[in-house]
């Protein structure tokens, strides 16, 4: 008689206990891993605030010091870092704006129009999607540096990267969610195609566009190989190119390099913290179809 409640009660307890213990195990496993993943970023930030003698001392610091400005002045003297910050900002901004315009117009055409040659064109872009960028950099270099004589300009960095095939796919997918009836209604009302695109279709895909903008800006901001190839003068360098030249040197201030990496990274970490959803949507959006 008393056996029944006694046997069911422990069963319920053991179920919640089991859940609790697997929850504890999950956190015990994940926490050290999370700390390992955060460690390089923490050390980068901390080291940017210490002079080199402290960074290389037998007991390297784990908390912030007061040498950030001193390190920055060293970095500025080594690379004209202020100029590279300006270059990176202008290049990434222009690239983002132009790429958004090009890919959203192109994606809109592929998603919302039927026209002769559409499948052929889309197939062509699709066919080149997985071709490694390595294949194109040498002809791009000849075109940009020798034929167009654009070396050391912003356009040299921006123009070839605008041929962004993934962006076209991404925006095409975004515009497919726009109801065609809505566009047709506007056509019946006599709105021009440009106005329908700008005032009706584009506002609907704004979240996708925001996610794309973040990723485009970040890709340009962090790009290394292509700017390294077309930028040969110190004052035209972007931040990654300038930092890359320092890393290879033997006599170099690591405090300064850490300042440079921190400056190029920390704004995005903050942005990432506040806009995590957009980042995640952007990365996952290119990959997962509903």
């Amino acid at each position: 008689m008393t056996a029944t409640p006694r046997s069911t009660a422990p069963a319920v307890v053991s179920e919640t206990a089991r859940r609790r213990s697997s929850s504890v195990w999950l956190h015990l496993a994940l926490l050290p891993l999370a700390l390992i993943f955060l460690a390089p970023l923490w050390i980068m930030a901390v080291f940017s605030t210490h002079p080199e003698t402290v960074i290389f001392s037998p007991n390297p610091p784990l908390w912030f010091g007061g040498a950030f400005m001193e390190n920055f002045r060293g970095l500025q003297a080594d690379t004209n870092f202020m100029r590279t910050m300006l270059n990176s900002t202008v290049i990434a901004s222009l690239y983002t704006v132009f790429s958004m315009v090009l890919t959203s117009m192109g994606g809109y055409a592929f998603a919302k129009f039927e026209f002769p040659g559409k499948n052929w064109l889309f197939g062509l872009i699709l066919a080149t999607l997985t071709i490694p960028a390595f294949v194109t950099i040498i002809p791009q270099f000849i075109l940009v540096a020798r034929d167009l004589k654009l070396s050391n300009t912003y356009w040299a960095v921006i123009l070839p990267t605008l041929a962004n095939t993934i962006g076209i796919f991404y925006m095409r997918q975004a515009f497919q969610t726009v109801p065609t009836d809505l566009l047709n209604a506007a056509r019946i009302d006599g709105a021009s195609e440009a106005r329908i695109f700008w005032q009706i279709a584009l506002p609907i895909v704004r979240p996708a566009l925001a996610a794309l903008a973040i990723l485009l800006f970040l890709a340009s901001w962090n790009d290394y190989l292509w700017p390294l190839i077309v930028l040969t003068q110190k004052d035209s360098y972007t931040m990654p190119v300038a930092l890359g030249t320092l890393v290879g040197l033997t006599r170099v201030s690591w405090g300064g390099i850490m300042v440079g990496t921190a400056i190029s990274t920390i704004p995005f970490l903050v942005l990432f913290l506040s806009l995590q959803r957009h980042f995640v949507a952007g990365i996952a959006g290119g990959a997962v179809k509903d």
Binding site: S23, L26, H27, A29, L30, A34, F37, L38, P40, L41, I43, M44, I55, V101, M105, G106, Y108, A109, E114, F115, K118, L121, L124, I125, T130, I131, P132, F134, V135, T136, I137, I138, P139, F141, L143, L159, P160, A163, R187, E193, F197, W221, N222, M239, P240, L243, L246, V247, G248, I257, M258, G260, T261, S264, F272, L273, Q276, V280, I283, A284
Partner: protein, 299 residues
Amino acid sequence: MTTKAAPSSRRAGRWARTPKAPYFFILPYLLIFLTFWAWPIISSFLMSFKDSRLGASAPYALSNWSRLVEDEFFRTALRNTFVILLIQVPLMLSLATVLAVALNSKLLKAAGWFRFAFFAPLVVGTVAYSAVFRLLFNTDFGMVNRALTGIGLPAVDWLNQSGPAMSVIIMALLWRWTGYNAIILLAGLQGISEDVYEAASIDGATPAQQFWKITLPLLRPTLLFCLVLSVIGTLQLFTEPALITNSGPGNATMTLGTYLYQQGFRSFNFGYASAIAYTVAAIAAVFSIIQLRLFGRDS
């Protein structure tokens, strides 16, 4: 017959009403695409048959391709790239899958902070983290050796020995890209219906069984996508070996990427560099086809 003719005449009617709009929308991108992407793909192929060394005269030749077959440095670069590919990519995708499942778990508290920890590396530029890793793994002053000796283990001469240098590259790549793949896999996981798991647990399936029998099979298309992306990315590895190890010691971490850069933009041997680039593209294509055959049966 008449039903077949109807759509084309309707299309013709619509075409008459909006004649130039789609072409106008597509033209700016198309010009850039053709000039800076499609043409270079063709041009690079043609160039791989040109002897671009100084004083060379033959208009088209196979010299680049025959050199490629015999080039010892190319073979080293190819071997190193494959070592990284075969070790790093499976490690990373396994870790990313486990992470995605863990981050998707309802048992996890403070999931936002855990996500931040694992996803944060993906906003860090390759140059920035390469610099940090080079400093962390410095033999005399690096934090990693300080930590190893601190817990009584011997210090490792990370960047001056071939095996350890390779492992630093692999660890750096794991740090930077695991979270990126975990995001994609997490999105894939969230596409799997809760009902499947509920039905399975009613039938008495353990969490481990659910992972192997439900999660993994349903995640296969997403994993395949990650695999293809990772392989193409690894084949083009450049910044990390260039900056962390400088391709060294003694070419031990030279990759196809750093070798191509050296041939193309240090020696300015465009023809030979194009042949290397097309080899990379061919390997990427072969890998993609194999992966699609092996893992992509129903999608």
